[in-house]
């Protein structure tokens, strides 16, 4: 379980990125975080990953405090951030330096098979497409079997088809070991397709504006009436949280 207790983050320049956030994500739950830019959703993820320390409050995973990057917590960035001087296999096995070579190779192979890139082990990152590179990044984060996997807008740089493909793929991967997933996203459909709960944040300072619980079992039909209702609900929540300016009925085209 990932828990944030009264967490605040203020940067040296005075920006209050997060103010008094308390949040518990259950083991095996998928939580999506949405909100306008500057609402602190990426900061929240960086705190959970141990890349930054909160100014007040604390972050815990299964009761253990997270003060620095922790082996039980994996992070996938918006960009694949593969190391260009390592092959695909080298990148996936990067965090497994402590293992014996044959154990590492077996784990890397298994992870690449899971993301469907077993044949790409010897390729260089430059030879991959955007979607393939992000799948390698997923494999790199999953290979150590983290209990919590944090994803920071992981598919936002990909084209629409690849994005939908990877969303489905992420669900398959999650179903294998059921880690706790926390997904920061700009994409409302992505949040509604994947998450058990969608947390809406508001900015200045970053706070929780509301949480939408989704009961529909996965996989979810993007065309169904339920999905459409949830989408309207979430857009309304986001509008109230000031994520975008909206008239009564007129959503900005970009949000839909």
């Amino acid at each position: 379980m990932l828990a944030l207790n009264a967490v605040s983050k203020r940067y040296p320049n005075g920006t209050r990125a997060l103010a008094d956030i308390s949040l518990a994500v259950n083991a095996g739950e998928i939580l999506a975080i949405v909100g306008g830019s500057g609402c602190g959703k990426s900061t929240l993820l960086r705190l959970a990953a141990g890349l930054e320390a909160p100014t007040a409050g604390h972050v815990q995973v299964d009761g253990e405090p997270i003060a620095a990057p922790h082996p039980a917590v994996g992070l996938v960035f918006q960009e694949p951030r593969l190391l260009p001087w390592l092959t695909v296999a080298g990148n996936v096995g990067f965090g497994l330096a402590a293992l014996a070579p044959q154990d590492r190779a077996a784990k890397v192979d298994a992870a690449l098979t899971r993301v469907g890139l077993a044949d790409y082990a010897g390729r260089w990152p430059r030879e991959l497409s955007g979607g393939q590179a992000q799948r390698v990044a997923l494999a790199r984060a999953l290979v150590a079997n983290p209990r919590v996997l944090l994803l920071d807008e992981p598919f936002s740089a990909l084209d629409a088809f690849t994005r939908v493909d990877l969303q489905d793929h992420l669900l398959d991967l999650w179903a294998d070991t059921r880690p706790t997933l926390v997904l920061v996203t700009h994409d409302i459909e992505e949040a509604l397709v994947l998450a058990d709960r969608v947390m809406v944040m508001r900015a200045h300072p970053g706070r929780i504006a509301g949480v939408l619980t989704l009961d529909t079992p996965r996989p979810r039909d993007r065309q169904s009436a339920t999905f459409d209702r949830a989408k309207r609900q979430l857009l309304a929540d986001l509008g109230r949280a000031g994520a975008y300016r909206s008239g009564e009925e007129a959503f900005p085209a970009a949000a839909i």
Partner: protein, 278 residues
């Protein structure tokens, strides 16, 4: 807005995907690069032989080759080349060591950078040849002053390259290292060194180029052997063929040492090849 007409959507005309890409013709184009130098050499040779030109101050290729052969036969050429190579080697090694150490220090922390960089940039602004009289006073007219001059010339581009490479490491890549709980030497060894390497190799190559430049200056300041000595000797005794021979040997040695440097570092930079291949 014009409504999109569905009727317009049709099967694309059969694309000729089966046709093999045209076989790449043998590239003759690189031969074009030889046309000017060889053409000029042949023309000059012809002009001198036919008596149109005198060729005393600008000897024809055949006389230069004969001079080179003479120098090589007597063992002189090897002797001079060896002396020059030893100086470049020693000066390059010292200059790389100093430039790398200073660049790494200045790149490692802002404090060190604030302390070192202004002074080094100031020293860099001095034309390195201006050190010659001082080095001769300090270190004498023999090897030490020559090697010091070369080392100074080499160290600045290596310093700048090292510092620039460290400063340009993508913070996002460093974060990847942090996520995998690397710090200190492990972070340096597994993330920073490989990230810096391509820039560093370029810095080494420009350092080596400057090393060859400064060895000539060093040998001008009074040497009894070395390719630079051959140049001075050729000027004083009026032997233009010897001067041009020495210049040609400089060109060849410079190219060979650069190629060796590239070949030595190539295995470490294999991942970069991908970009140029695709």
């Amino acid at each position: 807005m014009t409504p999109l007409s569905v009727a317009q959507t049709s099967e694309p005309a059969a694309l000729d995907t089966a046709a093999a890409p045209p076989a790449r013709p043998f590239r003759w184009r690189f031969l074009l690069g030889f046309v000017l130098p060889i053409g000029a050499a042949v023309l000059w040779e012809a002009a001198v032989r036919s008596g149109i030109a005198e060729g005393r101050l600008m000897p024809p290729p055949s006389r230069i080759l004969a001079t080179l052969a003479d120098l090589a036969r007597g063992g002189e050429l090897w002797w001079h080349a060896q002396a020059t190579l030893a100086r470049v080697g020693a000066g390059f090694a010292l200059g790389v060591a100093a430039g790398t150490a200073l660049g790494a220090l200045a790149g490692a922390s802002g404090l060190w950078r604030a302390l070192l960089d202004p002074t080094l940039q100031g020293l860099r602004a001095i034309p390195s040849i201006a050190w010659v009289p001082l080095f001769i006073l300090w270190l004498g007219i023999f090897e030490a002053s020559k090697i010091a001059l070369i080392a100074v010339g080499v160290s600045f581009p290596v310093y700048l390259g090292t510092l620039g490479a460290i400063l340009s490491i993508d913070r996002k890549i460093i974060e990847v290292g942090r996520i995998f709980r690397l710090s200190g030497p492990a972070l340096v060894g597994r993330i920073m060194l490989p990230a810096v390497l391509p820039h560093y190799v370029i810095a080494l190559r420009s350092g080596l180029g400057l090393g060859w430049m400064f060895v000539v200056a060093a040998e001008f300041m009074g040497a009894s052997e070395g390719l630079g000595y051959l140049l001075v000797d050729g000027q004083q005794l009026g032997k233009p063929a010897q001067i041009i021979s020495a210049i040609a040997v400089f060109a060849v040695l410079g190219k060979i040492t650069d190629a060796i440097l590239v070949a030595l570092t190539a295995p470490l930079l294999r991942w970069q090849d991908v970009a140029s291949r695709s």
